[in-house]
């Protein structure tokens, strides 16, 4: 049974007991525990069920590599699935529940899959569920999906907060083991700006458990001194609970800091996502121990040897009373020694090597531990818990030599350096035959913006296993990184020493000649239930590439990303293919190193801060006066001002009618305003616009069209000539930034010798359109400048004051009414608006929104960018040829408009459309033509681009693009509706209201 030992536990604070909940049971732990250590201390070996077969699962590891110990953590807004028990620190009141079982962890109906496992080998679903076709959607897939997933889906909205942080350093050291500490020391001493991060809550890594000698002292002493010394260096920053999540190109590293989740009493954000820019990254990420593949290696109680040791030393927790150790290397003997030293029983060390003989073996033997050399495990006995092992000769087929009763098995298949961060940006690996591992290939590392290697591995992560090598390697990496960033290396590497170790021997299967029934019980990927036999099946079926084998079997695709299984799996694959391991290669390492929350990625950008809202100076007034806002780009514009008791539709109709009969105010501040100035400004605008702008007289306005170089209409607006070399260009609301960038692009990159400056002054001004028959009366009442027809005729502008406000007044109209657009400094926008509203009361003033604006322009047959245009329309399609200068040799889009498809007489052209019954044509509807095309699609001859119920005319009006439309006035065409019926509409002139323009030219 697993239990808490009476003494010891480096991380524990025995004075601070905590209580927590597991599957509704109240359990006790100690401050300093992880959930895993606390569960083990409570003899809770069973922690979950596997994905496919629902096999019982116990903790196997003690860190980030854990595949099994995943729980649903917390409740309500704090609920989180798939939380790893080995990396979750315990706190008082923590609530955890195991996953993937029904009705309970102990009795899981899904476990029937394990009995059926013979029928569910790798890739079974590709071969099954094919017939009959209709069964897939209704029977097969629902069945498969039901068994999907591990943790439960959260239900509530997360109430925690998250943030980002940008840091810039010379050297980022990832991993706070002795290697990381040494590397940081080397870089720090040299004067580089260093950030050292460690994913756990403790510095020192494995050395804290194994306690080699460093600089002649016990490792712990050296660790404490070094941490203190680094803490004193102003150029070194150190942070715990911060994981190096991903290395990206050009020295960008994502790091994930857990701030409060280990202690609910802390305030502040839950997690912080660091975006680090660094010249060099040193990965001192250590190594991960590999499991061994023997039958029954997934039974709870079979654990990594290093993990058993960690639990005893760090958490004073034993996984069992009697632990059999099985290994192919010396390091596992440390576990036997540690267990024995803690007073636990180690009945036997089963060593696959024929004649192991290092110092550690000596020590173990001296302690009286039995060592069985050349042996392997034939089979682990037990169901939800190990009860014993059968041992056999490693060289044979698994004939049982002896059964040994035990309640835990410590396995070690050797160590794999953590090369993830090295590999994220393309770092390659080399296979080390002697150490039986992939380690970073210094000659083929990830290179940065300058073409130099920017990730440097250090210590165990670089394949060094002995402490002396670990320290010198990491220190050298630290110095190299400092030198690369312009610092002078100083100091010398700390000296480490630990017992000399004998060679490891590669063991990919135990016993070596295991038959198929044993291989079907050897797990590689515990979470996804991938076994040795599955990988062999993949190889047999031709899924020979390691990537095919991965995808076919799902090996390494679970939440642990194969940290334990990948190397074992590819060794099995290469064996099955008869190929060398390095020729088979690994799968691709991808960020993040361990999973990070989506919330941390989003950071503060949620709710109100999700995206910026652009507001006009009058925004709050609108909000207080019933505005329903519409997003236009990031702007919020009032769609309509809805009064009590009105529908939005009513409000729009009222706004239109009132504007046409009395007067309306439109907040037009969002329209883009670009000043274009310089001796070449006229020439430049002649290139930008299809019309001629250079000959516009000072004081006058002209409506202009702007096309992309590809010929399509991209923006429109009124251009005013301010003085001899200054023009003011208005753009659409969404267009200001785009058009500004477009102008700068051409000026800077094509006509850079032209003397023109452009400034975007959109936000300098609040702009109000005063529209309607009473518009002039209102302005005259406010007074200050002459706005009469004579002084300020249509399509002119003037500067002056109105009601005391500095104003620039444009006489332009997008509604067909008498209309002034008045710009005042934005800071006075609200006051100006309020002044207009107050003074306008006697003239029936009302604000109107974008929908009324749209309707009024449609009644007048004016086009709207984004309605009549969609990125495929040229001005010629819209009857705007009058706005395309024939005199100009060139303008942007002119050449494109000469292409054969652009001059095709069969292009659809803009017309007005009027339903025969006065109804509103459906928006976006197509007009059908007879017959079908070569693909069996109904032929069409036009489509609706804008359509409204006109409050002015009391009937539906529309515009649309129709084949030869302008030549077909009066003809009736048919628009099918979605319900199967159709609407008939007549082709008419697109100007529905005041064709003569009598209302605006007053």
């Amino acid at each position: 049974m697993s239990t808490r030992l009476a003494t010891g536990g480096r991380f524990l604070d025995r004075a601070r007991p905590v209580s927590f909940d597991f599957n509704g049971k109240r359990l006790r732990g100690l401050a300093g525990d992880t959930i895993a250590s606390a569960l083990l201390a409570n003899d809770q070996m069973l922690v979950g069920r596997s994905f496919k077969y629902h096999r019982p699962r116990g903790v196997v590891a003690s860190g980030a590599e854990e595949p099994n110990g995943l729980v649903n953590l917390g409740k309500g807004a704090k609920f989180e699935p798939n939380q790893r028990v080995t990396t979750t620190e315990l706190f008082d009141g923590l609530q955890a529940a195991s996953q993937n079982h029904w009705p309970s962890l102990e009795f899981d109906v899904g476990a029937v899959n394990a009995r059926l496992s013979r029928f569910l080998p790798a890739g079974f679903y590709y071969k099954m569920f094919i017939h009959p076709r209709s069964f897939w959607k209704h029977i097969y897939e629902p069945f498969i999906r039901q068994s999907a997933g591990l943790g439960k889906a959260p239900k509530d909205r997360d109430t925690d907060t998250y943030e980002h942080f940008h840091a810039h350093v010379d050297v980022l050291v990832v991993g706070g083991g002795i290697a990381g500490l040494a590397a940081a020391m080397a870089a720090g001493q040299a004067g580089a700006r260093v950030l050292l991060i460690e994913q756990t809550a403790h510095w020192g890594g494995r050395a804290g458990v194994d306690q080699p000698q460093i600089d002649g002292k016990p490792a712990q002493e050296w660790i404490d001194e070094t941490v203190a010394a680094l803490g004193q260096m102003p150029n070194v920053q150190m942070r715990l609970r911060m994981m190096g999540a991903g290395v990206y190109d050009h020295g960008y590293v994502l790091a994930y800091e857990k701030l409060t989740e280990h202690d609910p009493s802390l305030a502040g954000p839950r997690q912080r996502l660091w975006q680090v820019r660094t010249a060099r990254v040193i990965t001192c990420t250590g190594a991960i121990e590999r499991p061994l593949s023997f039958a029954g290696n997934d039974i709870p109680g079979v654990m990594l040897a290093s993990a058993l040791r960690d639990y005893v030393v760090n958490y004073a927790t034993s996984a069992g009373d009697r632990t059999v150790v099985v290994t192919n290397n010396d390091d596992a003997y440390r576990t036997a020694i540690a267990l024995k030293a803690a007073g636990l029983v180690v009945p036997c060390i089963v060593d696959a090597r024929p004649s192991p003989a290092g110092e550690l073996i000596q020590t173990a033997r001296e302690m009286g531990i039995r060592v069985e050399a050349g042996k392997g495990i034939a089979k682990v006995k037990g169901g939800k818990r190990v009860t014993g092992v059968a041992i056999c000769a490693q060289a044979g087929e698994g004939a049982v030599l002896e059964e040994i009763a035990c309640d835990a098995v410590a396995m070690s298949g050797g160590w794999s350096p953590v090369v993830h961060l090295w590999s994220h940006c393309g770092g390659k690996l080399v296979w080390d035959d002697e150490k039986v591992m992939f380690r970073p290939d210094a000659a083929r590392g990830p290179t940065g913006a300058d073409g130099a290697l920017f990730v440097l591995p250090g210590g165990t992560a670089n394949g060094a296993l002995q402490t002396a090598d670990v320290l010198s390697d990491a220190f050298a990496a630290g110095q190299a990184a400092a030198q690369a960033t312009g610092h002078k290396a100083k100091g010398k590497a700390p000296a480490g020493s630990d017992p000399a170790e004998g060679p490891i021997s590669p063991v990919w299967m135990m016993p070596q000649g295991a038959g198929i029934s044993l291989r079907e019980k050897m797990w590689l990927d515990y979470q996804n239930d991938v076994k040795v036999s599955d990988v062999q099946l993949a190889a047999r079926e031709g899924y020979e590439s390691v990537e095919h084998a991965k995808r076919y079997t799902t090996l390494g695709m679970a939440t642990d990303q194969g940290k334990l299984s990948n190397i074992n799996g590819l060794a099995v694959l290469s064996d099955a293919l008869g190929a060398a391991i390095p020729n088979v290669g690994t799968t691709t390492f991808r960020p993040p190193y361990t999973p990070i929350t989506l919330a941390a990625i989003a950071g503060v950008a949620k709710g109100d801060l999700f995206q910026p809202v652009r507001k006009t100076p009058m925004h709050n007034w609108h909000a207080e006066h019933g505005a329903e806002f519409e997003p236009v780009g990031q702007w919020h514009r009032p769609y309509a001002f809805v009064r009590k008791g009105e529908t939005t539709h009513d409000a729009v109709a009222r706004e239109v009618n009132n504007t046409r009969k009395a007067m309306g105010l439109l907040d037009a501040s969002t329209l883009g305003k670009l000043i274009v100035k310089g001796p070449d400004a006229g020439r430049f605008l002649d290139m930008m616009y299809t019309n001629m702008m250079s000959n516009l007289a000072v004081g006058k306005c002209r409506y202009g069209l702007m096309c992309s170089e590809n010929g399509f209409l991209m923006d429109d607006g009124v251009v005013a000539r301010i003085d001899e070399d200054t023009w003011l260009c208005h753009t659409t609301t969404g267009g200001a930034d785009r058009v500004h960038a477009h102008m700068e692009d051409w000026l800077q990159c094509e006509w850079w010798d032209w003397k023109v400056y452009v400034a975007n002054v959109t936000e300098q001004f609040a702009q109000v359109a005063v529209v309607g028959p009473n518009a002039r009366k209102l302005l005259e009442k406010l007074g200050g400048m002459d706005v009469s027809k004579e002084t300020l005729p249509f399509m002119q502008w003037a500067d002056g004051t109105i009601g005391g406000f500095d104003a620039r007044v444009f006489r332009i109209s997008f509604s067909g009414e008498l209309s002034y657009e008045i710009a005042v400094p934005a800071g006075q926008g609200l006051a100006f608006w309020e002044a207009l509203m107050a003074a306008g009361e006697e003239f029936g003033v009302m604000p109107y929104g974008t929908e009324a604006l749209h309707i009024m322009r449609a009644e007048k047959g004016f086009i709207m960018i984004g309605d009549e245009t969609d990125g495929t329309i040229i001005p010629q399609d819209l009857g705007l040829s009058w706005a395309i200068s024939k005199k100009k040799e060139d303008f942007l889009g002119k050449r494109a408009q000469e292409r054969s498809h652009m001059t095709d007489p069969n292009r659809w052209k803009l017309v007005g459309l009027e339903t025969l019954d006065g109804s509103v044509l459906p928006d976006g509807a197509y007009a059908v033509a007879s017959g079908h095309n070569g693909n069996g699609q109904r032929n069409t001859q036009g489509r609706v681009t804008s359509t409204y119920m006109s409050p002015t005319l009391g009937k539906g009006i529309a515009m649309g693009l129709v084949l030869n439309g302008p030549d077909r006035m009066g003809e009736v065409i048919e628009f099918p509706k979605l319900d199967g019926t159709a609407v008939q509409a007549r082709i008419v002139d697109q100007v529905f209201f005041d064709k003569a323009g009598e209302k605006q030219n007053v």
């Binding site: 913006a449 073409g451 292409r899």
Partner: protein, 109 residues
């Protein structure tokens, strides 16, 4: 996540401060040009696997367009230079030649 040094303001800018602008050194073809030349100018792209010359705008900074010599497989940046030129500076070409002997890109080498 690329970084470039803006040749105008000297800021070592993060990709998120920049706007990408596609292939550099395009020669404009206007009215009267051949269909093929115009098509090439607007659409046909080098899109090389290797050395490339491209446009970036320091959009969140000084607002200037600049050009960069960058490898599309290693993402190494060989230099940035102002957009007011029809050819990469010799110094950058030399630097590329040092590391990628025999490179060519359109008419440059």
């Amino acid at each position: 996540m690329l970084t470039f040094t803006c040749p105008y303001c000297g800021v070592h800018a993060d990709e998120t401060e920049l706007a990408p602008g596609g292939e550099a050194h395009l020669k404009r073809f206007g009215p009267g040009s051949e269909d093929e030349a115009f098509e090439d100018y607007l659409f046909k792209r080098e899109n090389p696997k290797g050395m490339h010359f491209e446009r970036w705008r320091h959009a969140y900074g000084c607002g200037k367009w600049f050009l960069a010599a960058r490898c599309t497989t290693t993402l190494e940046v060989f230099g940035t230079y102002p957009a007011q030129t029809t050819e990469p500076p010799q110094e950058i070409k030399d630097k590329i030649s040092g590391k990628r002997p025999g490179w060519t890109w359109r008419l440059f080498s």
